[in-house]
Every structure is written in structure tokens, then in C-alpha cells.
Symmetry: C2
Subunit: 337 residues, 2 copies
DNA sequence: CTGAAAGCGCTTACAG
DNA sequence: CTGAAAGCGCTTACAG
């Protein structure tokens, strides 16, 4: 079952490989190949089940029709969904996607970029880690189309698309204040990523606007590298502390879920004792008792827009600098009205 | 920023490309290239940051060091985790993974296989859909290493690895019976897949062993294609029906989650009115109130073993026929003791 | 209208 | 010990 090549087709049709290539790439007309011959070749190719070797084509043209997607962790809910949207979108344009997970590890991220480069992907969608600016800059310098998602670097001219973190948190906190909450706590992660920074700033700015003094005792920062149990203990300690709190806002998905477990452990009444909100929506939040109010990210829009920008850049060959902040949506449920 | 090739290295070192290739591929000794020269070349390559073009290499050698992974849906919890394990495992052996989702659509699955073939992947890990036997057979006939996961075809000689569905369900139902449950309902999906069949048979066989008559009113089959709302209504109707039930076993992940929503809607008391168990574990089950007993699949083991078999077959070039049924684990929580 | 030929960047028998 | 050359399967200027 030797794979058949363009040569086989050419031989059977009694023409040169060039002619076959032209016909199969839709350049028959351009090359003024007789309609009759073109039809014959097309038919023959289909009949024999000819499939061009993409490696050879890639080597020759420099285009692989493959995109690289680097996320934090493919098994995470948000990134899994993002990957799915991007896969679907890519398929529409006949692109394939190579995914990989960084685990927020910069060294790993660098290796992944290297790997994708070796495989000559046509473009990149990247969820950057701390300190990845240099690598991304090199990519761009090498004329590779790049779109960052979920986070970006303020000092780097690139395309990026993400939720409007600042506004989303600002509006939510403002809403809490309007509904009488005065002691609003937040739980966040210690990653120096712009998205987390923006979320925290949204919180601070909303307090300022409401003339509520900022208290650092109300802000709990958990280390990303902390083992699950340690993180749990820290969050539980924070929730159970004397510092009065009438609401807690978890600034990221996985911490919100951790918070839920603490709630159970501490037997805290939500929303009676404390209102509860998490960034990122999740099935868990919908099904929890009480159901949990969450700030949903427009995952589909993010994925679609990132792809659109990327494909546009690949097609045009011109570097772009698109910055998109998409609106988040507060899904109000029982845990915080 | 032209990518540099082996030619550039050869030129700078004043040797032929062949010599460079031998050195860089660790064949210096075998080819009796002087240690001195080898060192010089290695150093030069590193210094210039040379990275071989994988397309060219793939074209020449026929090996791409890329694996194809076809799952049902990458954004699904079980498959997302599986993908992650496989990605990590592949990385250890310096392979990359091309993922794709079938949505249980056979046509789509066929297209995906075709695409992966065009890209010359070295091996396949596939979650097959109904009616995919033919395609898989062709792959095997073409000497491509294939490992099926999660399901397989009884009449097809292939490698496969999956949880021992029959035993897992059999044991669980037997346990329920031992704890006094007599009217055990199951909710399953209408896919003609062997794993679902095995689960249902596990249920039937356990009843038989316990001398409890099988009642088809206790088995609810939901169409995979049913829209979410329709499925919800059907499950709710089943749960709320007059047919007495003292336990319900959801034979798949997504139906279990659906069941949870129905519970909430119907205000059923679990486990007082009815015990509740779902196949596949999930964060939701752990965090739900009451927490939900679940039959966890050994995702990591499945992924690791599938990779092991695949890589072994790639390395040896010999077709294997490994069949592995890994034990499930019942995670007992509040909803069913 | 169509074909012969070069070349993408590698690897690997073959020759010396 | 090392190099010249063929060839993997395509695409694309070039020539006629």
C-alpha cells in the first residue's frame, strides 16, 4: 500500500507532474490547460484517492496550514473550551491546530515555541507566561503572525484579545457596593500577569470611586505554586478570619472552586453570611447549592476573534496590531445578587 | 532573519552537509568522524542556534515525530484530562500531538483521519465513533500503529485500552443491592458504542446475579443528539415518574451532570429518597451538596498505557494486539453509600 | 497549451 | 575518515 504521488497520477494521465499540480491546485485556467485534460486529471486523482503529501508541500511552499496554540493547561475548563472554539474555527479555513500546555512555566513555554517553529507552523495563538516577552518578540521579528490571548505585555506591540478584566471587575464590585456591601474581600493568585493585575485594579478603582478605603487585609494572594492543600488552608483561613467581610470575590476560576470547598468545610452560609462571586463561569457554579454568581468570559468570541486576526495576518502577510477587550458578563445567581 | 540550514553550518565548518548531518544525529562515531571535528560542528550548530527543519526531515525519513489524537470532544472533562496526560507523556519521548474532536460524528472522524494521514503522523490514538471500523482497518492495513481508547470494535484486531466498564458497573450495582437497594434505575445514551453496551450489561448481569428481575421501565435511554433542554425534560420525567426507584445510576458523565440539574429542579432528596451515582468523576460531584458518589475512570493510566503501547509499536515496527481493561474506582460520597 | 528542470532541507547509501 | 550525489514529493519559474 505505497502512498501514491503526483508522479503516479501524471504517469497514468500521460502528462507531466507540473500539469497535474496545476490542475489540482486550481490553476488549470490560469495556466490555460484544456478543460478536457483538467477534468481527466481531476477525475483520475479522485478515483485513485490521491492525497498530496503535506510535508513536501510545506517544504516547498513554506506554508504548513498548521497553527500553534499555546495555552496554560488544556485540561482546564476555560482553556479547553477556548481550544475547542479555535479548533472549530481553524477547520473552517482548513487549518490544523497543534496545541500545547505551558503550566505557566516559562521554560516550558519557550520549548514549546521552539517546537512549533521547528514544525513550521504558519501562525501562533499564545497564552503567554511571565517573562515570555523576548520569545514573542523574536517570533514577531521573524515575521510570524502572533495573537496573544487572555494576557499580553503592555510594552510589546502585538495583537491580543481578552476579556476586559478591569471593567468586568470594576462593574461587579460597584454593583456589590450599590447593593450594600461594604467589606468586599478578594482572593487572587500571585502571578505577575497583566490580566490578574487588571482584575485587582478594577477592584481597587471601584472602591475608590465608591469612597471605600482599601484594606489590604481584605486581599488574599495565593501562590500559584502552592500545593492544593496549602492553598485550601490559606483560603479557608482567610474566609474564616475575624476581619469582617460581607462579600468575597475570587479573581480566578480555580480559586473560586477552591473557595467553594472551603465554604463547605467552614459551613459558611452563602449569601447570608457572605456573598460569593467567582471570575470565569463553570458548570459547578450553576449546579452548586446555592448557585454561584460568576463573571463569565466570552470564550467563543475570544477564540473566534483571535483566529480571525491571525488568519487575516497570515493571508495579508502584513503585521497588524489589533487590541481587543471583550466585555465579560455577570451571571447573577443565588450566591450574590 | 532567514532560517539557517545544514548547508550554512557545513559551509562555516568547511565540511559537507553529510558530515554535519551525521554529527548532529549522533552518528559521528559510527561514521568514524574525528572527535575533534564532531565537537567543532556541535559547537558551531549550537552557537548559531541551528534547528533542523522537521518538514524536510519528515519528508526524507517518513517519520514526523508527531502523533494524532482523536477524541470525542477536547473541551469535555474526561477527554481534556486524557489529552493532557497524553501530551505530557508524548513530550517525554519527544513527540508532538495533533489533537482533534469528532463530536461523535463519523463523517468528521473520517475527515480527521484523512487530515492526520496527510500530515504523516507516526501513530494514532483514537476514540472511535460508531461505524469507524473501516477507516481504522485501512489505517492498520497501511501499517500505521493505532491504539483505540475508551471504546473499541469487537471484530477488529487492534490495540485498545479502556476502563473495565462491565466490572465497574457490575460491582457498583452489586454493592447497591447489598445495601438494600431493590429498584435501581439507570440512565444511558443511545450510542451503539461498546463501552456503553458493557456498562448496561454490567447492570443487567448484576441484577441477574442478585436475582432481581430486570425491568425496562427502570432503564432510560437518552438520544445523544437530543438538545440539552429535551434531554433534561426526559431525565426529569424519568426521575419524577411513578415507577419506584431507590437508586439511579447515570452511565455517563454528561448525563450525570444533567441528572444533578434535574434533582435541583424536582427538589428530590438525595440519598433519602433516591441514591445517586454517576459514571466518571468530576469536580462537580465532589463539590455538590450532597456530594455525589462516582465511578472514576483511571484517566492517567489509560493515557499512559495507550502511549506506551503506541510508542512500542512505532519503535518495533511490529503490529501488536494489546487489550487492556483497567479497573475503575468507586468514589463513595454522600449521595450513595 | 504543456514539459523539463530546479529546488525546498534534509538523510543515507555509495565511493573513495 | 569524508564528500558528492540521489532522492523524499511537491511547486513554480522558465522555455518552447
Amino acid at each position: 500500500m505505497k502512498k501514491l504521488s503526483i508522479k503516479d497520477i501524471a504517469q497514468k494521465a500521460g502528462v507531466s507532474t507540473a500539469t497535474v499540480s496545476f490542475v489540482l491546485n486550481g490553476k488549470a485556467e490560469e495556466m490555460r490547460i484544456s478543460e478536457q485534460l483538467a477534468k481527466k486529471i481531476t477525475k483520475l486523482a479522485k478515483q485513485l484517492g490521491y492525497q498530496p503529501n503535506q510535508l513536501a508541500r510545506g517544504l516547498r511552499t513554506g506554508k504548513t496550514h498548521t497553527l500553534g496554540l499555546i495555552v496554560e493547561n488544556i485540561s482546564n475548563h476555560f482553556f479547553g473550551n477556548l481550544a475547542k472554539v479555535i479548533e472549530d474555527e481553524a477547520k473552517k479555513y482548513n487549518y490544523k491546530v497543534l496545541y500545547c500546555s505551558t503550566e505557566n512555566n516559562t521554560l516550558k513555554a519557550k520549548e514549546l515555541i521552539q517546537m512549533l517553529q521547528d514544525r513550521q507552523v504558519d501562525g501562533y495563538i499564545i497564552t503567554p507566561t511571565e517573562g515570555l516577552e523576548g520569545e514573542i518578540e523574536k517570533l514577531i521579528a521573524g515575521k510570524k503572525p502572533v495573537v496573544l490571548v487572555d494576557r499580553y505585555f503592555a510594552n510589546l506591540a502585538t495583537n491580543y484579545v481578552l476579556v476586559d478584566n478591569h471593567k468586568a471587575v470594576y462593574d461587579t464590585v460597584t454593583r456589590l457596593v450599590a447593593r450594600g456591601h461594604q467589606h468586599i474581600g478578594v482572593v487572587t493568585v500571585d502571578l505577575a500577569l497583566i490580566n490578574m493585575e487588571q482584575r485587582l485594579n478594577g477592584y481597587k478603582d471601584a472602591l475608590k470611586a465608591a469612597k471605600i478605603p482599601y484594606k489590604k487585609e481584605l486581599v488574599k494572594i495565593i501562590s500559584f505554586d502552592a500545593p492544593r492543600e496549602t492553598a485550601m488552608d490559606l483560603v479557608a483561613e482567610f474566609l474564616g478570619s475575624d476581619q469582617p467581610k460581607d462579600a468575597v470575590f475570587f479573581l480566578t476560576n480555580y480559586l473560586g472552586i477552591l473557595g467553594l470547598e472551603c465554604l463547605k468545610k467552614l459551613k459558611l452560609k452563602v449569601p447570608e453570611q457572605v456573598a460569593f462571586i467567582s471570575f470565569d463561569d463553570h458548570d459547578i457554579f450553576r449546579l452548586h447549592t446555592p448557585s454561584i454568581t460568576a463573571l463569565a468570559q466570552p470564550v467563543e468570541d475570544i477564540g473566534r476573534m483571535a483566529m480571525q486576526i491571525l488568519l487575516e495576518e497570515i493571508k495579508s502577510g502584513m503585521k497588524n496590531d489589533a487590541h481587543h477587550f471583550l466585555p465579560g458578563e455577570l451571571v447573577v445567581r443565588e450566591s450574590a445578587l
